[in-house]
Amino acid sequence: MKTAPSYMDRKDLLALAVVAALLLVVFPLALDGFRLNLVGKYLTYAFVAVGLVMCWGYGGILSLGQGLFFGLGGYGMAMYLKLEASSVENTKIQSTPGIPDFMDWNQLTSLPWFWEPFHYFIPTLFLIVLVPVAFALLIGSAMFKRRVSGVYFAIITQALAAIATILIIGQQGYTGGVNGITDLRTLMGWDIRTDSAKFVLYFVNAVLLIGVVCCAMFVRDSKLGRILVAMREKEDRVRFSGYSVANFQIFVFCLGAAFAAIGGAMFTLQVGFMSPSLVGIVPSIEMVIFCAVGGRLSIFGAIYGTLLVNYAKTSLSESFPELWLLGLGGLFIAVVLFFPNGLAGIWRDYVQPSIDRVFKLRSKDPTDPGHDVAKAAAAAAE
């Protein structure tokens, strides 16, 4: 595989510009507040999908438990917002005012110790990223050092996501249980439920996503990225060349976890609650599907894949409330059967060659397409 010589070549820049224009200009202008907020929600999953491109597409590590990290990030933010919403004044009808309502229903009379740091915003921001990364480090060290990989790793991560769900639901006094943490209102006094707040949060989300994409491209095009690809293709050869394979695997797994956690926190802010239904096996697998539809080797494809699948989900379910799951299933089967490289593959095999012929652009990096799937996806997305 031939990689670009520097961190961003002309094609990457062009692709980045297209994504930025789409997210920061086209969507805000073309969509009303409600739809824009929906796109914002979808984009939070794109953080996870970009992380999966790094882990799975480049590192060859398929994680079916990314919901765990998405959830940890989301719950971190939700705990902060819930504490702010549970002021003594707001909760004076409770037996113990000043603690979240679900704790009061479960006969808790004081705030559990691990909730304490979430009284403060800056520590919360650190914990949102650090806790999932610490978990990823722990899981990664435990498994990669023992050379657990491939399908075994996928199964274990899936089990971890299931365990997390059971734990959250079972410990409802501490976590809100099945209902999740709901009725979140303000962020440092700023009402996040208003339309203007949703608008601002959309842009914060979009800018963060572009930042994450840049970070992913930087890693991909560094020497580290090339080692990742080498590891994916022939793990033993890398090991015999003197590299510590496990450390690289742990790193990329942690990176994916951090991306997912940021997405989770932004999800909580934009949707206004967090629940265990976003942590378990089903959402984790859905996120892998977003990544697969986009093309697992394409960072930009991950964003378009996420948008396309979620758009299809929303519009199909609005039009056919009783049949939509079948339509969505059909879509996935079609993508997997006919376009194994996802949207990025369609772009590379069909669209780009004809454009190249017209503009006589030389393709520098044929293995990382997905660039201007923008137009295709945008056409599909509205």
């Binding site: 929600k41 229903w105 206004g272 609005e318 409330p321 009783e322």
Partner: protein
């Protein structure tokens, strides 16, 4: 989407007209029903989806996913009520059109769809939600955009909102009278609680425990256990039941776990004809899955049973089966869902407006004399006054009503002394 089957429509209309001839329904007809409809600008000042001939409402339940089996009955009941109201001339001279959305058993999806119904479709009211989790997800959306939600499920209480009418019973309405009955009639002294592990069973059992320990003499709780949702291995707790021999097994196990629980009880030789078992989570819908022969002899505490013997209910059951098939069964929540569109219609007509603020204010005191459960009235706290009934499960999957509270029970979502 919301398409009306014209043939079914007129069939229904004919049937309702016949029903009206049989039982003097005319008194129920609003006086304005056939009068000139009031101007849209007068009855809709907040930009809801109301035209001169139509008003749009939303139906928001899970048509797919694990909850679909429970929520389908509610969807059917709401569609039936809407058809019947339209056949009688609609609301303030406007036919009800509905937009159905699928919550897909997923709480964020419920919130998304509720927002879509309110912001984009501007529906005048939403009939919907089933689980507490879905209601908790939808509630902030409904309050923020000032919508109106009619919520059908019996639930744990601890909630009250200007924007919600709770047409099911809150926990104290369902539990207290039934406990009094079993202690008085059956001489029960000891209770063993078994529930699914989430907010509703935990809160219900907390209320039941307080009632048993503080408000009744000589009774006590000898065990309390919770199992995760979907749990299917109840052998350990059944062994404990055999050891402690409680007078009453009090259960709020939900969903698919019920099937395993009752089959294992039977297999373990616990005969429900001799052992009293009281459940607050099994309706006719659940028995469909459990099998009548596995649960016959158990007592269920609800406000409605399909077998209720009153003219309202006979008409309702006949209309429901005509629309949805002879084999459908009607559980407590299905009936509560049927009340939603009717209560909304009557409130709109009392308020003379579709405006949510006016409906919220006018809801207190709305009476529905044709309710299948008999008679209901909206309390100032937006819950319903309703009766508690105890049904004895039969082999054919129906319940025989063995007790009915003499009076309507006041809803009390924040019960003092039970927290």
């Amino acid at each position: 989407m919301a398409e009306h089957d014209e043939a079914g429509h007129s069939r229904l209309r004919r049937q309702i007209l016949m029903g009206m001839a049989a039982a003097p329904l005319a008194g129920l007809l609003p006086k304005t029903a056939f009068a000139q409809a009031p101007a849209t600008s007068a009855v809709n000042t907040t930009g809801l989806a109301v035209t001169d001939t139509e008003v749009t409402v939303g139906i928001l339940h899970s048509a797919t996913g694990t909850m679909a089996i429970s929520e389908t009955g509610s969807i059917q009941a709401e569609k039936l009520a809407i058809e019947q109201i339209n056949a009688m001339g609609g609301v303030l001279g406007r036919k009800i059109k509905f937009i159905q959305e699928d919550g897909a058993s997923d709480w964020p999806t419920f919130a998304e769809k509720a927002k879509k119904l309110l912001v984009q479709d501007k529906v005048a009211a939403i009939m919907g939600c089933w689980t507490s989790a879905s209601r908790k997800a939808v509630l902030p959306v409904i309050e923020q955009y000032n919508g109106m939600l009619y919520y059908p499920t019996f639930y744990e209480g601890l909630e009250q909102s200007k924007n919600v009418i709770y047409t099911g019973q809150e926990a104290t309405q369902q539990i207290l009278e039934s406990l009094n009955w079993v202690v008085k009639e059956k001489g029960a002294k000891t209770f063993y609680f078994i529930g699914s592990d989430y907010i509703w069973p935990r809160t219900s059992n907390k209320i039941a425990r307080k009632h048993i320990e503080n408000f009744m003499k000589g009774t006590k709780v000898v065990g309390e256990e919770y199992f995760p949702l979907g749990h299917t291995q109840f052998n350990s707790v059944i062994n404990k039941l055999k050891l402690t021999k409680p007078d009453v097994i009090f259960t709020d196990v939900v969903g698919g776990s019920n099937v395993a629980f009752y089959k294992q009880l039977k297999a373990a030789g616990i005969n429900l004809d001799k052992q009293i078992l009281m459940t607050i989570s099994v309706t006719e819908d659940e028995i469909d899955g459990i099998g009548g022969e596995n649960i016959a002899g158990a007592y269920s505490c609800m406000k409605y049973f399909q077998s209720l013997d009153n003219p309202n209910n006979k008409e309702f059951v006949a209309a429901f089966k005509k629309m949805w098939g002879e084999k459908t069964v009607i559980g407590d929540v299905t009936q509560a869902a049927y009340l939603g569109p009717w209560l909304w219609k009557m409130t709109v007509e009392k308020a003379g407006s579709f405006d949510v603020d006016k409906i919220a204010a006018a809801s207190d005191g709305i009476e529905f004399t044709k309710a299948p459960e008999g008679y209901v009235k909206i309390h100032a706290n937006h819950h319903l006054w309703s009766k508690t009934r105890v049904g004895l499960a039969q082999k054919d999957g129906q319940f025989k009503v063995v007790y009915e509270s003499p009076d309507l029970i006041e809803p009390n979502p924040f019960p003092k002394g039970y927290q």
